[in-house]
């Protein structure tokens, strides 16, 4: 492996430099520090379970050192890993301090070995997965598919009661005609309220309510009556809401309204 060569030929500065550069360039090819550690570990050519984590840590730290010497910027996670490995290395080398809490160097090393083994195992699993027969590459789906056509059938129904009511309705049109308002000449309070709300802002001074009637509702007596009643009722509602003031000088005198200034 290139990395091994880098450290073996440390006495040859040019070769070392080249090898280190090659490794640096390769950093792009690594999927993070764990991946690089795995790659270095493979260089030990032993079962990952029996790997020397101490040696691995030293290899990694040497790589980081050479990268620094070459003034090559490394991603932060590589540096974090370096710091952690330096800590691990000291733990592994120094005799355990009984006063110090926390996991032992061996525990940490074992965990790192586990992580490497697990990553390796996942790599293998991924490779085996991708080596499987794949749809569209090794096996194929039906080319000429038939859609399920959805047929919607509508069925109509009616009851005897519907039938009889319908007949009764027709045969007794005159007497049966349900009470209906003659909507032609009806102006509802809701309509008036809606209309007045829109206009109220312009009513600064007293105005005759009758001048507020909408067009087409001022001449025909029936319509005028309806519109006046509706607008009067709406005015009262607006007074109640505190939006309007209303006054009438005398009985049957014109009703005046104006916007209420708070």
């Amino acid at each position: 492996m290139d990395e091994d060569a880098a450290f073996d030929q440390a006495d040859d500065p040019v070769a070392a430099r080249r090898a280190a550069e090659a490794l640096i360039v390769d950093v792009d090819g690594y999927e993070g520090p764990l991946d690089m550690l795995l790659s270095l570990a493979r260089g030990q050519k032993v079962d990952l379970r029996r790997i020397s984590v101490l040696h691995l840590a030293e290899q990694y730290l040497a790589f980081i050192a050479s990268a620094k010497a070459l003034r090559i910027e490394l991603a932060a996670d590589y540096l974090v890993m370096a710091a952690w490995l330096a800590f691990l290395k000291s733990r592994l080398l120094l005799p355990p301090d009984p006063s110090e809490a926390g996991p032992s160097g061996e525990d940490l090393a074992a965990h790192l070995a586990f992580q490497l083994e697990r990553l390796e195992a996942m790599r293998g699993a991924a490779a085996r997965l991708m080596a499987r027969d794949q749809k569209g590459r090794d096996f194929f789906v039906r080319g000429l598919t038939e859609d399920v056509t959805r047929i919607r059938r509508v069925s109509y129904t009616a009851t005897l009661l519907d039938l009889m009511q319908a007949y009764a309705r027709i045969r007794t049109k005159d007497e049966f005609r349900p009470y209906a308002l003659d909507r032609e000449s009806v102006y509802t309070m809701e309509e008036a309220l809606e209309r007045m709300r829109g206009m109220i802002g312009y009513a600064g001074d007293w105005v005759d309510l009758s001048s507020w009637l909408p067009e087409g509702w001022q001449l025909d007596p029936a319509r005028r009556r309806a519109a006046t009643a509706a607008h009067f009722a709406a005015s009262l509602e607006l007074v109640k809401q505190g939006a309007l003031e209303i006054r009438q000088g005398d009985t049957f005198a014109p009703i005046h309204i104006r916007k209420r200034v708070p």
Partner: protein, 212 residues
């Protein structure tokens, strides 16, 4: 012929016929369009005889749920014709008959045989073609005898299916106006058991539109 091909066959050794059949089967299965024999031969290893393989395959799929069919010069798998119904999913939606239809039906039931003009006169609105068609399609009405009046208009009568649906022995069993009134059917109040919405809807319908 056979002698000419023999040396070639032994050179390239075409796969056994069973294998060729599998190949044709796979190619036809995966193709979106029918495949010609020439194309099959081109795609299969040298020395294969797609036509022979097709013949074997066609026999194998005889009577199965899918059949090997010839489409012009090409071949394809198709659903067996008798299983076409499996490719359909039927949903039945039940709808209320429209107001126009139920009124027309009522008039036909009470006045049969009745002409179109008479129906229109009783309802006071003209009858849209769809209404009569719908009732004919439902097989609740049918054509009666032509009226012996100028123009010999057709008449409509209700069917057995109508009587069946409405649980009537005969159209004559339909209650008369008096009975309807006695039963409260001439009241504008909603009928006991009738949905309120419906009554409302029909009342409103009366106000806004005469014909739907």
């Amino acid at each position: 012929m056979a002698q000419d091909t023999e040396p070639e066959e032994s050179l390239f050794e075409a796969p056994p016929m069973a294998e060729q059949e599998r190949m044709v089967e796979a190619i036809l299965f995966a193709s979106a369009d029918p495949v010609r024999v020439a194309e099959l031969n081109a795609r299969m290893p040298h020395g294969c005889d797609a036509a022979a393989a097709l013949a074997h395959l066609a026999r194998r799929y005889e009577g199965r749920g899918v059949n090997l069919v010839r489409v012009g010069e090409a071949w394809s798998f198709r659903t067996a014709p008798d299983l076409g119904f499996l490719m359909q999913k039927e949903t039945v939606e039940i709808r209320k008959l429209s107001r126009a239809a139920i009124e027309t039906l009522a008039i036909i039931a009470y006045h049969q045989p009745v002409t179109r003009a008479e129906i229109e006169e009783i309802r006071g609105v003209s009858l849209s073609r769809g209404t009569i068609d719908q009732l004919l399609e439902l097989e609740w009405i049918r054509f009666g005898r032509r009226r012996m009046t100028p123009g010999r208009p057709v008449t409509y009568v209700v069917t057995e299916g109508f009587l069946d649906h409405f649980g009537l022995e005969s159209a004559r069993d339909l209650p008369g106006l008096k009975e309807l009134r006695a039963a409260g059917l001439l009241d504008s109040r909603p009928m006991p058991g009738a949905e309120e919405d419906e009554t409302d809807a029909s009342t409103q319908g009366d106000m806004f539109e005469d014909e739907s």
